[in-house]
Amino acid sequence: MKILTIAAKELREYVLKPGSISWGIVFPLVFTLAFAVRFGDIDHLAPGLLSISILFGTSSFVSSSIIFERRLRTFERLLVAPVSYLEIATAKILVGTLFGIFVGVTSMLVLRLFMAYAIWNWILLLLFMTLSGLAFSALSLYVSLRVQNPINAMTWLNLIRLPMIFTSGAIVSLLLFPRWFLAVGLLTPMTYSVDGLRFSMLEYYDVVNPAYSGLVMIILTMIFLYLSIRSIKNLY
């Protein structure tokens, strides 16, 4: 109940604050378009591009929300209210996920224009977008709460999300790298998003069985949720 109250407030607040949102949408769209124009048929790139969109959408949204709230100290309003850290963190993750789905669907509509084949399974695709949104939001929440000074959150986030683009097989399939690199790929949270999305769109996967991908993303969400709650405790 209070989770929804907080989530609704976040949505209202950030929808009204255009600056923070547009970056989360514009970047993925420009990125997608750039690849589409460069490569023409992008069926095999589409899952990776979609995952990148969701990653950048959610992480920009969640981190800017936390950075603002910590700097303006509105975050303390939540901490002093009779609401648990779990409720606060869950609300933030939910709103981030919702935004991630929105960015994902928008990107998908654009990608669709450049794809030769039809989407294999839209429902599964929506499910994997949601799971990706959850895992990425939780990861971003943790990073934004882990840093002492909220200004550093963006730097840390970039140190994590930029390399992930390459180690997840989002652009170049992990199967094309030397075998040892597969280990790096499997340690990258984004790998499971990319492969899950790939399976929903194209009915095949590169390395991870989609059932495992889904499971791993749920587990990652819970781990980062737990770590986020611990970070709130450590910060205050």
Binding site: R12, E13, L16, L72, T74, R77, A81, P82, V83
Partner: protein, 309 residues
Amino acid sequence: MAAETIVAKNLSKRYGDFTAVNGISFKVKKGEIYGLLGPNGAGKTTTVRMLTTLTSITSGEAWINGYSVKEDRLMVKKSIGLVPDVSNLYDELTVEENLRFTAKLYGAPMENVEELIKEFNLPAKRKFGKLSSGFKRRVTIAAALVHEPEVLFMDEPTSNLDIRSAKAVRALVRALNLRGMTIFLTTHNMIDAELLPHRIAIMEQGKIVAEGRRGELKRLVGKGVIVRFSVEPVSSTLLKVLESYSPAFDEGRISVLVDDVDDFLDHLFELRKTLGFRVTYLSTELPSIEDVFMELTEESPCPCGGCPI
């Protein structure tokens, strides 16, 4: 416990090697305005943050309404309202949306929001971010009251406000207290300290150096009392007798500084009987809280107050 709304026992907060609050103890009675007075960096905000569960307590204990701040955080949170030193509502939301959100967060009835808007005369439809700092503070106070807390914590409630807004906030604090609200406030402002608290604790470098009612603190520094009076007619005999008090004359009034008011007044009224004058004006004045503060706190060797050099 019932009569004491806040109890702090040996409360300490350390940040690494630095001790921000150093074993302070005090009790605040129900219905009282209690003021923590101290210079910047004394540890006032840290104390408020510990009492309101916003930061962990390094050692010691505190209770609010009988609930342990360490153990019963949820009950403590429900019992308190906090007006932080920075007005921190959501800029993009209107005043009404901000208050409604707070009400939902605390599970308080929505009627409270309407009442507060009316009572505090708030611009319901304006965005919080667009308000003047005086109105922001008013809304922040209203937001702290939405769930009808037992205790209101106010960290520097008049800082960064113009004179008029500060005066309005002081009036608000008094009005809330008259309705029975227990208020714990911090300030480095001598006007606040002079006008608001029933009892004051003077804090310096993490420690409480003095505590008591205003009058008690003033007598504590033992600077004497100023007695001002006018008599008619003024005789040369009277002036001669008063000479031992080294009086000052100002606009027809005579001022003397005495250690014991009672002794002096006894003396004055004896003289009145023998000399036959009328007392047309009489007042006594204690030293100001500022005087007390200057007397009880040490001047730091360095203006920053706490640097290691």
